[in-house]
Amino acid sequence: MKEAHPGEARYAKIEQTAERRSTAARAVTYFFLILWAAIVLFPFYWMILTSVKSYGAYNSEYIPKFFTLSPTLQNYVDAFTAVPLARYFVNTIIFTLLTTAIMIVVITLAAFAFSRLDFKGRNAAFVLFLSLMMIPGELVIITNFVTITNLDMRNTFQGLILPSVTSVFYIYLLKENFEQVPDSLYKAAKVDGTSDMKYLLKVLVPISRPTLITVTILKVIECWNSYVWPRLITDDENYFLVSNGIQEIRENGFGRENIPAMMAAVVVISLPLIGLFLIFHKKIMAGVSRGGTKG
């Protein structure tokens, strides 16, 4: 019906090359992406693997094995009995919960004042707040250390918590969020005779729940992993947080060589956040891309 056309053969060749090229490109892409995933996951695998190898087995492997046939939970028992890991854990939970809770209250009140209340000096105060965002924590930690020491608050929860219960950035984030709630809602509430506090708690907070949750999660991550300030302010083991605890374990606990027990401790202190991440990964990633910074 149709004669062979000179264009046809040429086109066939182009089609083939294009097909082959895109297949090859895809294969290369997947190779490197999976390679990076392996690099990311390998330390986690290794820490779990090592944590279930017995002390004897681990130390007799000159060439470490990539799996174990006789997993043991003894290391986890050691981690909780030989060093006060449970204490570190509880401390960190108390520290994280209190810090986050107080911060949420403080920033909610401040964000409400900036977004809805009309008072003299509001704009000036806001600009001042914003300029505080540029102050690096490392600069003010020196005086804070001296202050807390002079106030005799070393090795107390107050000393650990108080300096980190405000965040200018989160105030800013929340203020932006509050401002997206239509002004008419506030006016309607005023007409109905609703008090400001009631409006804040019954209207703004529920509407802004997603942002508040994001801020909470980010703050929890930050608290759980904080190392520098607790290290400066605590030298009594009873007030160590997990980061300091793990450093203490590494340098003085178990005897230096009990790597499996150390890894068990590492698994235990990593688990809560990894669990949190697995549940909330969408929220966390969205929150971080909106305003988290690290590195």
Partner: protein, 301 residues
């Protein structure tokens, strides 16, 4: 009545702000001023809280302290190596990630995992992977030997080896944030640009250079700037790998130097710590300004 009401409103506004103002004033504004005061007080004694003069001696002491110079060198090396490398690799990964469909969400989640892990804890895993002990040369060294190389102790060995692990771990830690930012930047580029380029027969490489890169350049510069700032403040990565006595390991960073001056075996010198911290922030500020100037020239829209 109205006057009274408006005055009440003014007070109310400040009342809502009060907790934030108290905390920020006490733990941020006052310390900021105080740190400058400290840095110029000579011979401050933290026990008696006295000093015997003001001047720039603290700065000169810090700048002549071999530990500080070592920390300065380490920090600069870390910055120069990790910032371009991590940004570059993150860009490649994000481009790859954006070009695939199956597995994409899973990989994206996996890549983000290091962000939520405790730096100190995972640092220990890196340490045992790279460390040579009496029992075993460690996994990495065995791999090197398997490929016919000479094993080396990355944790207690030569400087370059320690620097290598520190850089590697730093990159591992900062990648999640960069990949996340870059993938969302890439995903927000209108697909029509790519379709138009494809219809015009634009090669993949040219599309990347002429369309993708300019489109995401604002985010790229943001990452470079925050990357510089973050890398200059490196500390806990080094602690995780080499322990708290970083000066002895020769792997201290500027921030580590500040803390060591403040507290611990070599601590008790808030004046030196303040001077070192201010020097660090002078450096960071300068570099950030230079970055901003360059980006203003190169980020087009």
């Amino acid at each position: 009545m109205i006057k009274w009401k408006s005055r009440f409103n003014n007070i109310k506004g400040w009342l809502y702000l009060l907790p934030a103002i108290l905390f920020l004033g006490f733990f941020m504004v006052y310390p900021l001023i105080d740190v400058f005061v400290y840095s110029f007080e000579e011979g401050y004694n933290s026990a008696s809280q006295t000093y015997f003069g003001t001047g720039t001696y603290n700065y000169s002491y810090v700048l002549h302290d071999p530990y500080f110079l070592q920390a300065l060198k380490n920090t600069f090396l870390l910055v120069v190596i990790t910032v371009p490398l991590s940004t570059g690799i993150a860009l490649l990964i994000s481009v790859g990630l954006n070009s695939i469909k199956p597995l994409r969400n899973l990989l994206q989640t996996v890549y983000f995992l290091p962000y939520v892990t405790n730096t100190l804890a995972v640092g220990l895993v890196f340490m045992i992977l790279f460390k040579k002990t009496a029992y075993s040369d460690g996994l990495v060294n065995l791999l090197i030997q398997w490929f016919g190389g000479e094993s080396v102790d990355f944790i207690d060995g030569p400087y370059w080896a320690k620097m290598f692990v520190l850089c590697l771990y730093t990159i591992w830690v900062v990648m999640p944030f960069k990949i996340l930012i870059l993938t969302s930047a890439l995903a927000s580029v209108n697909q029509d640009y790519y379709k138009a380029a494809r219809v015009d027969g634009t090669s993949k490489f040219r599309t990347f250079m002429r369309i993708t890169l300019p489109m995401i350049s604002p985010m790229l510069f943001y990452l470079v700037i925050t990357g510089f700032i973050g890398a200059f403040k490196a500390y806990s990565d080094a602690v995780a790998l080499f322990g708290t006595n970083l000066n002895a390991a020769g792997m201290n960073t500027i921030v580590g130097y500040v803390y060591d001056m403040l507290y611990g075996d070599s601590g008790g010198y808030p004046s030196y710590a303040s001077a070192a911290a201010i020097i660090l922030f002078a450096i960071v500020l300068t570099i950030t300004c230079i970055n901003l100037l360059i980006s203003r020239k190169n980020v087009h829209y």
